[in-house]
């Protein structure tokens, strides 16, 4: 295996010292001269016609600079189906519908003004479950589509389907069958730094927006479209991304509040800032999509899977954002986790009057893996096969092509399973007398980008200065996950400079090259692949110029060296003749000729050479740009086929739990996680990714749920919406990284941002079953659900 200089070594993150000092600037910390504060008036009804909006009192309030409604501002459409508008005109379809907005000189005035806006509604019947909304004759949530064509039902016009093999034959071949319906709730991403932006126009009517986004370049396209909706044709948006207080998917779409800030900024001619308060973040930001999954699997007498049948029903909420595309990711485990050849997958999405949803870490994968891995456990037990053996029997293998057409390059799933079984002492009996049990669950996820758009590319510009520093301009978003840390190491490694000579510039669409967005665990994979390409180009340029300049500088060095060391006899080495571009190497910021004697004067500081290249007639400054587009394909999701990623990440997590049958509490005794990461880039940063994801997985498994009553979020605060604290995470977590050294991966690495939370919930649920013999099928697994299942179990046993 290749020896790396920086890759795989413990290196503190470059952004950590400033964050530790409280110097990192988040959207909350930014101000612009003359800045106004925006505030939004949201709906009081889940479904109603807007009869009248009276904003006159708000307009008259001292300190208010603008009040906008759909009546006095241009219509700006949003969402990939265009079924939403920034300000609602005739109708509200959810509690979080934006009706009006205010810009004022301070936040208090803005808030007061919003309270003064009075809206008259004519309530309409609300639909709060997909089953209800699907019924024939249900009131229509959208009477027309974005193009104004009449609609006849509440189904979202999106198709996700996969069919492969022969389902009936698979069913006939099955000796054992397990079926079940599983559900997952809406949960909030809970970034500790809430959402917000500052919008500002220059006098040419071009927009600058400081945005908490993960997709600056797609957002640029969205906002440019909005400018054109506002009558500002051919105007441009510049997006600057400040430090992000977490992302987790929240930044994958553009948001109504951003369009509203833009409208207010244009109207007032002043910068306008909108930042969500915590209760707004809970109630008015798109959470993780909920799901209902019916799954049936069968296996033969040896435990080999013969078929898998899946029907997904999703509550889409009132409008369409990326939550509606979760089935495109659900298909991934449905078709490609474990070997199974006869598959049917179908998903239906239905508009309701609930909040609409967006991306969150895992993006459909935790939802589906919850159903799949719970059901796999049931099937294994039905067939009398040990659940671990069952997974080994059906394990994916390197070099296989899955029914969805995934070309698996490397696959460490078997090693992951074995590691978890070993560390969890799988074969050891559970302690007698205590309600303890063990469970495991696995995952597959994209690990080499994820083409969900025409381009899955990532650009990188490297610019060298006179001092041997490398300035990097990259379009990927650092939101806490450590992208800048691995990009720094990747550049340092591939170019041959020290990491402290690499500077990653703030993300600004006007200076950084295009990147599709920081999603799908693609950040490190893309950035480091781009770094390798760029470094190779740059080394080529440097070495070419060194043919001429290295001898001249080495000569000068030698002279100085001789002066200091009188009587020095240089070894016989013709560095003029040997100075050929293919002979040079660059390491730790020094250029030298490979195989040259180790004389100090024969090694040249990069900055020195760069100055020689710069300061002469016809001098040059060196920079390079690359655009890395991975070898993957855009799947046809209606057919459920296509190699979406260049490589795939696998993993297995195991849990040991103790269930208190009196209270229904689940105590996690320990967790084990083994992940096929391709190659560890930065050990501590990688561990942090898995620990953090795992904590989110535990919240998802045991208590997190964004509760709503008739469309209204009723727990919009950390008192009623619990996320894990240091106390809840008080158990050992044993991590193991399986290095499969993927040929597509930069330095062998795969993306691993999301996998850490994908199998956590089913691993815990399987452990609970092992402990007390009950299976809760609806997340979160609360004490109440456990107690009621225990009661049923007792009753059935008589």
């Amino acid at each position: 295996m290749k020896n790396f200089h920086y890759i795989g070594k413990e290196t503190p993150r470059p952004d950590a010292p400033d964050k530790a000092a409280g110097k990192a600037l988040y959207i909350h910390d930014l101000e612009r001269p003359g800045m106004l504060y925006g505030k939004i008036k949201f709906s009081n009804h889940p479904h109603a016609r807007i009869k009248h909006i009276d904003a006159s009192k708000a307009e008259r309030l001292n300190g208010v600079r603008a009040v906008i409604t759909a009546n006095n501002s241009p219509e700006v459409r949003l969402g990939f189906l265009g079924d939403n508008v920034a300000l609602k005109k005739d109708k509200v379809r959810q509690y979080r519908d934006e009706i009006a907005a205010v810009a004022a000189i301070d936040p208090d005035t803005a808030e007061e003004a919003v309270e003064l806006i009075k809206v008259e509604y004519e309530p309409l019947p609300g639909l709060f479950s997909p089953q209800e909304a699907m019924k024939k004759g249900s009131p229509l949530i959208h009477e027309t589509d974005a193009q104004g064509r009449p609609r006849t039902d509440n189904l979202v016009p999106l198709r996700y389907r996969h069919q492969s093999g022969d389902l009936d034959a698979g069913k006939r071949a099955a000796k054992y069958v397990a079926e079940g319906e599983f559900s997952t709730p809406r949960v909030q991403q809970c970034c500790m730094g809430t959402a917000g932006c500052i919008a500002e126009f220059d006098m040419n009517s071009n927009l600058t927006i400081w945005a908490k986004t993960q997709i600056p370049f797609l957002a640029q396209r969205d906002f440019n479209r909005a400018l054109s909706d506002m009558g500002l044709r051919d105007k441009n948006t510049r997006i600057i991304v400040p430090a992000l207080g977490g992302g987790f998917g929240t930044g994958l779409d553009t948001h109504a509040y951003e369009y509203i800030a833009i409208l207010l900024a244009y109207k007032t001619g002043r910068p306008v800032k909108i930042v969500y308060a915590r209760d707004e973040e809970f109630a008015y930001l798109s959470p993780r999509q909920s799901s209902i999954t019916k799954i049936t699997q069968g296996c033969d007498q040896n435990g080999r899977l013969t078929f898998r049948e899946v029907e997904v029903l999703q509550d889409n909420g009132a409008y369409t954002s990326w939550g509606a595309t979760y089935p495109s990711v659900m298909m991934m485990p449905a078709t490609s986790l474990y070997r199974v050849s006869n598959i049917y997958f179908n998903a239906k999405l239905v508009y309701t009057n609930n909040t609409f949803c967006q991306a969150m870490r895992g993006y459909g994968n935790p939802e589906h893996t919850w159903a799949l891995e719970s059901n796999s456990d049931e099937l294994a037990r039905e067939a009398g096969v040990d659940p671990y053996e069952f997974r080994i029997i059906n394990c994916n293998k390197p070099k296989e092509t899955t029914p969805m057409g995934f070309k698996v390059s490397t696959c460490g799933l078997k090693e992951c399973l074995q590691t978890v079984a070993k560390k969890l002492d799988w074969k050891k009996q559970n302690k007698k007398g205590k309600c303890r049990g063990k469970g495991m669950a696995s995952l597959v996820h994209v690990g080499g980008g994820g083409r969900i758009y025409r381009s899955d590319a990532s650009g990188l510009i490297l610019k060298l200065d006179d001092f041997g520093n490398v300035n990097a301009y990259h379009g990927g978003v650092e939101m806490g996950q450590g992208l800048h840390s691995v990009l720094t190491l990747g550049i340092a490694e591939a170019l041959g400079v020290r990491p402290d000579k690499v500077f990653i510039n703030p993300l600004d669409t006007s200076t950084c090259p295009w990147d599709v967005g920081t999603h799908a665990s693609r950040g490190a994979f893309m950035a480091c692949n781009a770094a390798i390409l760029a470094a190779n180009k740059l080394r080529g340029k440097i070495f070419k110029l060194a043919e001429e300049l290295f001898p001249q500088e080495a000569e000068k060095n030698l002279k100085k060296y001789r002066k200091k060391n009188p009587g020095y006899k240089p070894p016989a080495f013709d560095f003029v003749k040997e100075a050929k571009k293919e002979r040079f190497d660059l390491k730790d910021g020094s250029i030298f000729i490979k195989g040259a004697p180790p004389e100090p004067w024969l090694s040249l500081d990069l900055g020195r050479l760069l100055r020689a290249i710069h300061f002469r007639t016809q001098g040059q400054m060196l920079a390079t740009e690359v655009f890395y587009d991975p070898p993957n394909e855009l799947p046809d999701f209606a057919k459920g086929f296509g190699n979406i990623s260049a490589t795939y990440a696998y993993g297995t997590q195991g849990a040991e739990v103790e269930v208190d049958t009196e209270t229904g509490e689940v105590k996690i005794l320990r967790m084990v996680a083994a992940h096929d990461v391709g190659k560890v880039l930065n050990p501590r940063a990688l561990k942090g990714q898995i620990y953090g994801a795992l904590a989110q997985g535990i919240g998802y498994a045991l208590y997190e749920e964004l509760q709503s009553e008739k469309g209204k979020i009723v727990n919009p605060n950390f008192r009623d919406y619990k996320i894990p604290t240091a106390q809840e995470m008080n158990f050992p977590i044993d991590l193991e990284f399986i290095e499969t050294n993927d040929s597509f991966g930069p330095f062998g690495a795969k993306g691993v941002a999301e996998p850490g939370l994908v199998p956590t919930a089913p691993a815990i649920a399987n452990a609970i079953y092992d402990a007390v013999g009950i299976r809760v099928r609806d997340l979160p697994i609360t004490p109440e659900k456990i107690l009621s299942a225990l009661k049923k179990l007792k009753a059935s046993k008589g």
């Binding site: 000092a21 970034c191 500790m192 207080g245 915590r278 620990y691 953090g692 894990p724 604290t725």
Partner: protein, 159 residues
């Protein structure tokens, strides 16, 4: 109701005019431009706004500004050592990978600092207990606890 108050902020006496309903966090972030203290919820539920008042970790979002009169406040900005160095606990967070998005970090560090000042050698339990009011969505707390422990160990070693 406007009032003049004076208090010690990161070691220096300051005088500020406050409005009746202001909170300590408003004084710190807005009046004093010390934006290292973060507001994650404004309701005493997340700990991002933690500062140390007279040796105790408090949520500055719940702390009425007028009650700060005569007291001593330390914020994250007050921890930095001379010669542009991070303090021991800050450096421990950096070295142990305890920082991801960093939004919880200043509050987390202030809670850890208050703990270590009063209990230089806390147990695992005591660390988790002291930090349970500080939410972090990124790290799962593992490396945060390790960071605090590493400093506790050092202080022990020095004795």
């Amino acid at each position: 109701m406007k009032a003049e108050i004076s208090f010690i902020l990161n070691g220096s006496e300051v005088n500020v005019t406050i409005d009746g309903h202001l909170r300590l966090i408003d004084i710190l972030r807005n009046t004093m431009s010390l934006t290292g203290t973060k507001e994650g919820c404004g309701e005493g539920e997340c700990g991002a706004c933690t500062v140390i008042v007279d040796g105790r970790a408090v949520n500055s979002c719940l702390y009425p500004a007028h009650e700060i009169e005569g007291k001593s406040v330390t914020t994250i900005e007050g921890l930095r050592m001379p010669e542009h160095k991070l303090s021991e606990i800050q450096q421990a967070f950096v070295d142990n990978g305890a920082i991801q998005c960093g939004f919880c970090t200043p509050g987390m560090i202030m809670s850890a600092k208050a703990l270590l000042d009063s209990n230089p050698n806390p147990s695992d339990e005591e660390i988790r207990d002291a930090l349970q009011g500080n939410l972090c969505r990124c790290t799962g707390y593992v490396q945060i606890v390790e960071a605090v422990k590493s400093v506790a160990g050092q202080i022990m070693g020095k004795k």
